[in-house]
Symmetry: D2
Subunit: 247 residues, 4 copies
C-alpha cells in the first residue's frame, strides 16, 4: 500500500476498509492513514437491512476506526443488497462529522442525487462531496443531478475527467464525448470479462505492465479481442482525442 | 375457495392475497370477503427494502384493497428478504386501522415480540393480535414472549393448540409436550420434503384423502418413510395423547 | 388474451406461462394455443440450481403442457438466479423436440451464443432460433455472435428491427444506428423507472393510449421527463429516421 | 494459528482457506500445514453455479494450493448459494485425489448422504470421510444415513461425540440423548444470537475465558439468559450426564 500511495504523488488515495469485524477495520484504517491515505471508505454489510441497523452500524464503525479519520460512505446496493433511503444517508451525514463524502452507486440512483442536493440547498443537510461509481454508466446525467465527479474504473479514465469538467459549462459537449464512449463503456460493464477488457486496453495504452487478472479471474478470448478492437476503431472516429491508437 | 370457507364452519379463515399489482390484490380481497373470510393477509414484496418503502407499500395496499377489510401483516423475511424493524411494524399498525394482526415469522424473532408487547403495555402502540409461524419451531418461547398463538402448519395441529393453552397456566407442561414433538417438528422443517411428511401423516390420520403434492413437488422416498415411522413411534412414547397410532 | 392475439394480426405471439405448478402451466398453455398463440415460453424457477434439476424440470414441464405445444426456453439468470451452462441448454434442446427457440438473456452472454452456434455448425446440436432480450443492451454484438434477432422491449422497437436486418449486410451501418440509440436505450434499462420511460415515449408516439403503469409502479417525475426529452432531441440528430418528433 | 494447533495437542485441526483469489488460498494453505494442520477446507464461491463451474473451480483450487495438501470439500448451500448435485461431489472426489473429506451442510441433505454412500458401496465412488455440520440439527438421522460424525459447534460438543458413538450400536439411546438436547440445540441455531448463547454456556462451563463476541456481534440480553437457564435446567433433568450445572 505504501508504494501505491507514494506512486500517485499528490493525488488523494481512499482505501476501502470494509471487513466483518470492527477491529480489522480499525487496524486497516490506521495503517492506511499512516501510509498517507486521504481517507478510508466503508459500506454496511449485507446483514444490515433496516434504517436503524444501517445507521447504527455506521455510527459504531466510525467510532471504532476513530472519529479523526475522514471516511467515505459507499452506497452500493447492487453489490451488498443494503438499500439506504436518502433520509438514512442524511442521518449518517448528520451523526458522523467524520463522514466527508458519499460514493454513490445506487441503481437507479438519479433521484437520490436530486433529493440529497435539494436538502443541502435548503439547509436541511450538511454539504458533502458526492462521487459516482457503477462504471460511469450514468455519469452524464449524474453530473446534471448534482454529483461532483466520478470515482470508478474505465479504460479511459481521462474521459470521465473531461465529462465532469465539461458538464459544468458545456453540457452538449460533455454528452458528445460521453456518448462516443458509451458503446465501449457498456462493454466494460460485463461482469468479470469487463475487468479483463479494461486491463487489456490499459496495457495497450502503456498504463499497466500486465493485463492478466488474478486467478481465477477470466481472460479475454479471441472473439472479445476482435470486438474490443472494433469498439476502439469506432471510438477514435467519434473522439479522436481519446488517447486510443488504432492497431 | 367457497368450499373451504364453508367446510371449516365457524373457524375464521384468512386468505393470503399478496400479488405484484394492487388491482389483483383488491380483486382477490373482495372475493375472499364475499366468500366469508374473516380477513386477508399481505406482505410487502422483495423490492421493498427501506423503512419508508415498506410502510408506504402497506399504506397504499391497505387503501387499494379497501380500508374496511381487516388485514394481517405478515412479517416473513426468510421468504421475502424484507426486514421490518419493530418501529416499522408499529408505524404500520398506527397508520392502518384495518391492520388487526401480525403474523410473526421473523427469525430469530423472540426479541421483536418482547419489544412490540412492551410498547403495547407502555401505551406506545395499539393492541394487536400476534400469531407465530415458521412451523412452530420456537412456539414454546414465543408464547412466553407474548404471542397469542400459532398460525402455521404441522402434522399434529392440536399439539400447537395444547402448547398455546398450557403455556398460560403450566409452562413446564407446555414445554413437555412441545419438546416431545420437537424431533418430528424439526423433521417437518426440511424445505420441500417437509410438506410431503406433513401430508403423509395427515393422510394416515384420516385428515386428508391424498398425500400427493402438486407436481413438481417432492414425494417421500422409502428412507424418509422409515424415519417418519420411527419419529412417530418415539413420539407416542413421550406424548401418548398426540393422536398418532403406531402402525 | 384473445384480443391481443387478434390485434397483432398475423404476427406470432409467444405467451409466458411460467408458474409454480405444472397444472397451472398446462392450463395456461392450452388457453394460449386456443387463442392463436404461436407458442409459449417458460423458464425454470429459482429453486432449480444444478444441471440435473434444470434439465429435469424442463423435461417434466414440457411433458406436462403437452409435447405438441412448441415452447421457447427463456435463459434469464439476472431475474431467476438459474444459471444454465451451454451444455445444459444443448441437453434441453436435444431432449425436448418441442423446444423451438431460446430467449437469450444471460448476462454477460456473448460467449454462450458463440458456443451454441459452433455446436450447431459442427452438427453437435439441433438448429434452433435464438432471440435476445435484456433490453437489447448488447444487440449489436449478439447479432455478430449468431443471434437471429431481438425479443425485448424498447421505445423504438423498429430500431431493433433495423439493427437486426442491417447487421446481416452492413455491420457498420447497424452499429451507427445502435450507437445512436444507446444513450436512451441505457436510460430505459433503469429498473422500474425504465418501463415508465418506455411507456411515456410510446404514448407520445401514439402507440399506446395511456402511459400509466399498473400500481404500485413508479411514475416519471419532472426531472426524468426533462432528461428523456433531451435524449430524444439528441437522438433525432443522430438518427433522423428514428420516428421521434422533437416536442 | 500456531498456538491453536499446539493447544489441541494431537487432535486434527482443519483450517478454512476459502478466499477470493487462489494466491491467497495457497499462501494460507501452506502456512496452515506448516503450523501442523491436518488439512484445509474450501468451498466454491457464490459465483460458481453450474456443475461445470463448480468442478472446474475445485480442480483449479486444488492445483493452486498444491495437490499434496489434503483438503475437505465443504458443501454449504445455505451460506454460499452454491448447490452441488451428488454427481458433482462424486466428480470432485474422482478428479481430486487430495480431496479426503466432505463437510456435509446441505439442507435438506439426508438423501444426498444416502446417494453418496450407495455409490461408494457399489464401487462407483472412492471412499471418503463425511462429517456433518449445520449445528447438528439432523445428526441423529445423518448418522443413520451413513455419516462418519459431526464437525460443527454446540455448547456441549461431547453430546455430539456420544450420539455419534452410540448411533453405531444403540440407536435408541443415541436418539434419547439427542432429543434431550434438541430444545437447546435448536435455540443455538438462531442466527447471530445463537453464537452468543454458545459462548455464554462455554464460559459457564469453564471452557473459555470470555463470552463476548467480536464487535459488532450481538450480546445476550436478560430475556435470553433467562431462557437459556430454563433450557439448561430442563436439559439436566433429561440428560444428567450432560455436564451442565444448575445455577
Amino acid at each position: 500500500m505504501h508504494e501505491i500511495v507514494s506512486a500517485v504523488a499528490g493525488k488523494p488515495v481512499i482505501v476501502g476498509i470494509s471487513a466483518p469485524g470492527f477491529a480489522a477495520m480499525r487496524s486497516l484504517a490506521l495503517k492506511s492513514m499512516e501510509f498517507g491515505a486521504a481517507g478510508v471508505m466503508m459500506t454496511p454489510p449485507a446483514a444490515m437491512r433496516t434504517d436503524e441497523q444501517i445507521t447504527g452500524w455506521v455510527r459504531n464503525a466510525a467510532r471504532a476506526i476513530g472519529e479523526d479519520i475522514p471516511f467515505v460512505l459507499q452506497d452500493h446496493p447492487t453489490a451488498t443488497g443494503v438499500v439506504m433511503a436518502p433520509r438514512v444517508i442524511r442521518q449518517i451525514i448528520e451523526e458522523n462529522p467524520s463522514c466527508v463524502m458519499l460514493k454513490h452507486e445506487d441503481w437507479p440512483g438519479l433521484d437520490k442525487l436530486t433529493t440529497l442536493r435539494r436538502w443541502q440547498q435548503q439547509g436541511k443537510m450538511r454539504s458533502i462531496s458526492i462521487l459516482c461509481g457503477n462504471g460511469g454508466m450514468f455519469l452524464d446525467f449524474e453530473m446534471l443531478r448534482g454529483a461532483d465527479g466520478a470515482m470508478t474504473g474505465y479504460a479511459f479514465p481521462e474521459m470521465l475527467r473531461r465529462v465532469v469538467d465539461l458538464s459544468r459549462h458545456d453540457v452538449e459537449a460533455a454528452s458528445d464525448i460521453f456518448d462516443a464512449h458509451l458503446p465501449l463503456l457498456r462493454y466494460e460493464q460485463q461482469a468479470g470479462v469487463g475487468l479483463a477488457v479494461r486491463k487489456y486496453i490499459l496495457k495497450q495504452r502503456g498504463a499497466i505492465a500486465h493485463e492478466a487478472l488474478r486467478t481465477p479471474g477470466p481472460h479475454l478470448n479471441e472473439e472479445a479481442r476482435v470486438e474490443v478492437k472494433r469498439l476502439l476503431r469506432r471510438l477514435i472516429l467519434r473522439d479522436p482525442d481519446c488517447g486510443a491508437t488504432s492497431s
